[in-house]
Symmetry: C2
Subunit: 200 residues, 2 copies
């Protein structure tokens, strides 16, 4: 599509999505040209609507179209159990379990001195305030088992144990994923699985 | 993102792109939520602009923002050599060669009785008219080496030889791709490469 500025702008936009290279972006932009008018209009409007209608819940940071998110606004949920996640979409994984019925708190990232993400950049103050105001009794730190996730969990665990001694602070268990094969398990996962072994 | 209609609509739109499953569409829609306002607006507008500004060249079917495409409107191109492609974007591959300087003709698909694509659904009449009006001397059938591509090439070759005996009709050469390894070449490609062998 030599010399088509409208096409190039569309490719540029697609290429800004995560994991989408130039080639994939071009294929998607071509697909848009071949879409019928109605679908293309719906696509364009869906982007605007999503940006206009969806905003973070002022209480916990999950995405919502209302004043409060589905968890914070639901009085039937267990507001004493709070799962702390780095990004809003991590909460989706827990919601899929279906039986948790807890509330969430979105940190907005993970501590990373190299990327300039310090405790002030995360919603830690808001979490502390929620613990007092909402009477949270257990905080589960559900952060990815990476260096940044572990650092953040250690930092938060220390902070919570120090300042909120009555709150139980836990992290997710590590070990073999269900359905995994020992053949393919890496050494670090296996050592974590051994550490976390349970009597039968 | 349970219960967010604006998010679901956006996921639906992304999932209409080729090769994008539900999971990838959700990841892309999440990325749009995390884009800044300016980028999201640009994305939405790029879709509308691409649809509004880009249309097929009335002469050959390549995409263009002007009355005629870059090839048809360029008097310095060799209008006697016409490469026939199934889809407009196939022409891009030939333009990358850089030295061809020919014109194109977009068939709009390949013959496929099972999908109900008959000769009337392709731009064959327009091609015949162009051969007369523009004085095309050679037609290169650049169609994918698939069953549908071969069928279409045979059909067109027959039609052209019959009706335009003064026009040279050719198809692309088949054989080993450059840089390929014999180890990995499939038997069909190898047999085509043998058929197309040249004396040194």
């Amino acid at each position: 599509m030599a010399n088509l500025p409208s096409f190039e702008s569309l490719v540029d936009s697609f290429a800004k999505l995560p994991g989408i290279g130039r080639k994939s972006a071009e294929r998607m932009a071509s697909a848009v040209l071949e879409m019928d008018e109605v679908d293309a209009k719906a696509f364009s409007e869906a982007i605007q609507n999503a940006k206009n209608n969806i905003h973070p819940c002022p209480n916990c940071g999950l995405f919502t179209e209302n004043d409060l998110c589905f968890a914070c606004s639901d009085p039937n949920r267990n507001h004493k159990l709070c799962i702390v996640v780095a990004k809003a979409k991590d909460a989706d994984s827990f919601e899929r379990i279906g039986t948790l019925n807890c509330v969430y708190h979105v940190l907005g990232g993970l501590l990373s001195p190299s990327k300039g993400i310090d405790p002030e950049n995360l919603t830690i103050d808001a979490l502390m305030k929620r613990i007092d105001e909402e009477g949270i009794e257990e905080v589960v730190l559900a952060l990815n088992p990476t260096i940044e996730g572990e650092t953040t969990a250690l930092f938060l665990g220390h902070l919570l144990n120090e300042n909120k001694p009555n709150v139980k602070t836990t992290r997710l268990g590590y070990g073999l994923p269900m359905g995994a094969s020992l053949d393919y398990a890496d050494a670090l996962t296996l050592s974590k699985a051994l550490e976390g072994r349970k009597s039968l």
